[in-house]
């Protein structure tokens, strides 16, 4: 243990001495969060709208105002049949509402009237969202008019949905994405920085000198992990605080549980980094392996963006080996739901197992190289 501390102290001094690495570890993650946090946004606003009003009545104008007042659409042009195609092609408008002649009269006499909504479908995701915005707006407009001229017939639908979205009532995608980003950024920084540390010693030749000493691989691994653990914990807490300040990420659970989950997750990431370091002979190889092993699985297979439940079975099986999967469940549980350990202890156990496995692999692998 005393020897592990000697290794840890040396590693700490190296990190602190190496200003560039230290800054990279502490600030790049927060910068990443800003970049991703603002760029990666599934909420759609400011859809450029063209209106082809062929009715010119109070009713048609009311529909146009409903679109504009919804906040999702910006009215940019009044169009007609001739100019629509050109404007859509030039991307000046991304949606067009066509209000047919006779709309007002039809509405007042209770006849059905189709309102055409043209949507640029080059981005299918956006198009789907815009379709649902448009139908919602038209539905609520439609409710103002009676569909049956006979006043004795009730026009109210018998079943109505009254949705209440829990944990994220405004359905802000930031609340869903930011915990994922935290896991993603913490994973990459922790894995990459540790992966470089042993490979650097191999490149510099200090590894050989250390191997000549009566120092066991276990102490070496433990000593190497401690400083990187501290630095990545500080860095991860940094991005969580930035996320709370800038993206209104709530903190509904306890900080202790958060620290516990975060620590387990980071130790696993460090273990992975050390393992990669032990199998790479140069910093370059270590860097590439580390990026590949942390970046892709955490982005694709953790439930960060793509829901695991809708993946094919084979891929779903792979996600069990991705630590971010467990951490995300715990993290979202803690910050969004204020859930206690009882609801995600399985995930914590999985994270602990992953961490133990990775550290053991790294130690075994280094021990084999030791002699």
């Amino acid at each position: 243990m005393r020897k592990a501390i000697a290794v840890a102290r040396k590693e700490f001094r190296q990190i602190v001495r190496d200003r560039r690495t230290l800054m990279t570890l502490l600030f790049v993650p927060a910068f990443f969060l800003l970049l991703y946090g603002y760029a990666l946004n599934f909420d759609i606003r400011h859809v450029r709208l063209g209106v082809d009003d062929r009715d010119h009545t109070a009713a048609s104008r009311s529909i146009v105002s409903a679109f504009v007042n919804s906040g999702y659409f910006d009215l940019v042009a009044a169009v007609d049949e001739a100019s629509t195609t050109a404007l859509m092609n030039r991307n000046e408008v991304r949606a067009v509402v066509v209000l047919p002649r006779g709309l007002s009269r039809a509405l007042l006499t209770g006849r059905r009237v189709p309102v055409q909504v043209l949507i640029n479908g080059d981005n299918a995701n956006t198009a789907t969202t815009v379709v649902s915005y448009a139908s919602t707006i038209l539905q609520s407009e439609s409710a103002k008019y009676r569909s049956d001229p006979d006043p004795s017939v009730s026009v109210h639908p018998l079943l109505t949905a009254e949705p209440r979205v829990w944990y994220n009532p405004q359905l802000r995608s930031a609340l869903f994405l930011v915990p994922g980003l935290i896991a993603y950024i913490a994973m990459i920084t922790a894995v990459v920085s540790t992966a470089l540390s042993v490979a650097r010693e191999k490149e510099m030749g200090t590894m050989e000198q250390v191997r000549m000493a009566p120092l066991d691989a276990g102490s070496f691994v433990v000593g190497k992990s401690i400083p990187y653990f501290v630095v990545s914990l500080v860095s991860a807490l940094g991005i969580i605080i930035v996320a709370m300040a800038l993206f209104q990420l709530p903190m509904r659970g306890s900080w202790t549980t958060l620290l516990l989950a975060l620590s387990l997750f980071l130790v696993g990431a460090l273990g992975l980094g050390l393992f990669i370091s032990s199998i790479s002979e140069s910093q370059q190889v270590a860097f590439q392996l580390a990026l590949l092993a942390s970046f892709l699985p955490t982005l694709m297979l953790s439930g960060f963006i793509f829901p695991i439940a809708s993946m094919p079975a084979a891929l779903r099986a792979v996600t069990y080996a991705v630590p971010a999967r467990y951490f995300l469940i715990a993290l979202r549980g803690i910050v969004l739901k204020g859930a206690g350990v009882g609801t995600f202890w399985v995930e914590l156990v999985a994270l602990a197992l992953y961490a133990a496995l990775m550290l053991a692999l790294a130690a075994v692998r280094l021990r084999r190289q030791w002699s």
């Binding site: 290794v7 001094r13 200090t206 000549m212 002699s371």
Partner: protein, 332 residues
Amino acid sequence: MTNGVRPMTAASGGADLRVGPPHAISVRDLTRRFGGFVAVDRLTFDVRHGEIFGFLGSNGAGKSTTIRMLCGLLVPTSGTALVDGVDVMQDPEAVKRRIGYMSQRFSLYEQLTVDQNIRFFAGIYGLRGAALERRRRFAIEIAGLDGRERTRAADLAGGWRQRLALGCAILHEPAIVFLDEPTGGVDPISRRQFWQLIDRLSASGVTVLVTTHYLDEAEHCHRLAIIHAGKLAALGSTDDLKRVFSDRAIVEIQAPNPVEAMRTLDRLDDVEKTSLFGTAVHAVLKSARPDAVDALRRELVAAAIPAQAVTLVQPSLEDVFLDVVDRQGARA
């Protein structure tokens, strides 16, 4: 391999009733293969306590592989090696506690200061308290870095880094020190200072096994092993080794066109072989007859080779090395 007086291979074995191992290092039939390639081939030798023992050989001769096996870093394919009485196969960790190791890479942590490097290596050797302080001072003193404890290792010139690396490698007062081409890339003055350190270690009873391909450095060693193609080609003190030429003579010829001179010399019956030494040619004669030089001079005149000087010279270590390697090659 006609008149080969193969210099004595160290003899040993035998019962020894003293406490402690009879030899600092004792190697028997040590072999290491990498796939089909035999890097070290049945090496057998002993190193005495407090001796400076040189390993001389060209690159790839198997010097480093041997050292790595002796340090417990590489498992031998066969054979045995006792280092300070400990079998390297059975207890490599115990070997590590007894030895110091330094390679030509002077492996220090460049971002750390002199003092931080010393403290780290002391830490992984388990030194603390008074022992740590005493050895820390010792390392700083031998490196000549008094007052520069806070300098970063990266900012030290080669010679200082080399001596600091040595200091760090012997913090735990090992009985045996392995130096693998310790003077690579260092200026001549620093090399000289470094060898003074090695002499000092040896005088204090530490056994030093050093590999080199600098022949001038090899002269500093008490005994030398010449390694060629993984085999022990010769072993003994420099004087012992030079005795391979006891019944032959070496003649140095200064000629304006040495290559042409060599070609002519090689055709002569008396000449065993020739080699280029700087601008001169060394010819090894098959016999040490007193009139051999005169005979050679006459032959050169007859062959119309202009030679400014033809003189009998004492064999140098380089002559020995080339001769040994040559005959080892012929035997293979």
